[in-house]
Symmetry: C2
Subunit: 210 residues, 2 copies
């Protein structure tokens, strides 16, 4: 079990204020880490941005590794919670997938630094921290894989082989958006999600050749 | 114009030996940068790996920025050259796209560190270095976009809007492979490329529902 921080230790008072402060610190850390990389970011620099001493930083985070873990775990947990609510809403597989694609892109647009870190710094997580983030990532993969299995009509099988790959292709489309998506140029996320859905459901060949 | 290195300056003798040594240094640098990130990698550490002094490193590279530029520019130039040869071979749009998808995945499998750096450290390139890499990246984008336009039957139009997005979705599928592809688990790149092609051409919905 990795060292825990004040965020995961039970506390009697001012837990709200602590969490709020931790949120600001995590957001500031995400900006720095997304820009410079985890290895090159010092926990002291994160504190400096918000005028928190090094000692203060260690009140909130047990270590620099814990800080990185908190960013990734909280980001994926928040994304999963939002997407689980969306997935529960009734509809055809196409309609549900469209809502999930939109939800993912919208979440990414709101948290670009955090999502970039989840991709670029996944391997910077060690041991128990890595495993705990992986549990949440796998639940999220499963969520999308299930809706894709509804779409392909192969719900009963585990998403191995082909279906697993289709799900990974869809995650690729979604996550690569950080390289190019700009609302002003590419339009609202709902529209981009609709184009993505069209490719996933129907493919790109012209109708007559199908 | 950014500072140039010995690699881009004309030289009279032992150019082959210089290029060969530079290749080893670039490969060693790619391992370090892919692991630690560009910001956290010192040019001195790269030299140390191959027993080249700091002064020696500056014989091969004008600066640390030049080193990063050389990795990205040479990687994309090599990928583009291979894929241009593949794209020239005759065939249906489907057959040509399958060969290009295979070619991209195979190149990635041979150069994982370099490709990771091209994605993660694109924004670490500055000014002229960034622009020169962008020229090659755009030619490669165009290459794939043209074959996709042949597939969709919209060859005459510029790949704006929908076709541009479809191409970006395909790049997402391809480039996200660095997060999951393992030959032992996922099979040969040709087979993965065939699954990708099937999704791009036909979509994932079962045939009866089309």
């Amino acid at each position: 079990m990795a060292a825990t921080s004040v965020l995961t230790r039970p506390r009697k008072q001012s837990r709200d204020a602590t969490l709020q402060k931790a949120d600001s610190l995590l957001a500031a850390a995400a900006v720095l880490i997304a820009e410079k990389g985890f290895e090159a970011t010092a926990i002291r620099d994160v504190g400096r941005r918000l005028e928190v001493s090094l000692g203060g930083m260690y009140y909130y985070f047990a270590s620099k590794d814990d800080l990185l873990f908190q960013i990734q775990h909280r980001t994926f947990t928040a994304l999963l919670a939002e997407q689980e609510r969306i997935a529960e809403q009734p509809g055809t597989p196409e309609a549900r997938l469209h809502r999930l694609l939109t939800g993912h892109l919208a979440f990414f647009a709101r948290h670009p630094n955090e999502m970039k870190i989840c991709t670029f710094e996944l391997e910077s997580l060690k041991g128990d921290f890595y495993d705990r983030v992986l549990v949440v990532r796998r639940r999220y993969f499963r969520l999308l894989a299930d809706v894709i299995a509804d779409l392909t009509g192969r719900r009963e099988r585990k998403p191995r082989g082909h279906d697993r790959h289709v799900t990974l292709f869809v995650f690729g489309m979604l996550n690569w958006a950080f390289m190019w998506y700009q609302a002003a140029k590419d339009g609202p996320v709902e529209a981009v999600a609709a184009e993505m859905l069209d490719l996933i459901v129907h493919g790109a060949a012209p109708r007559k050749r199908r």
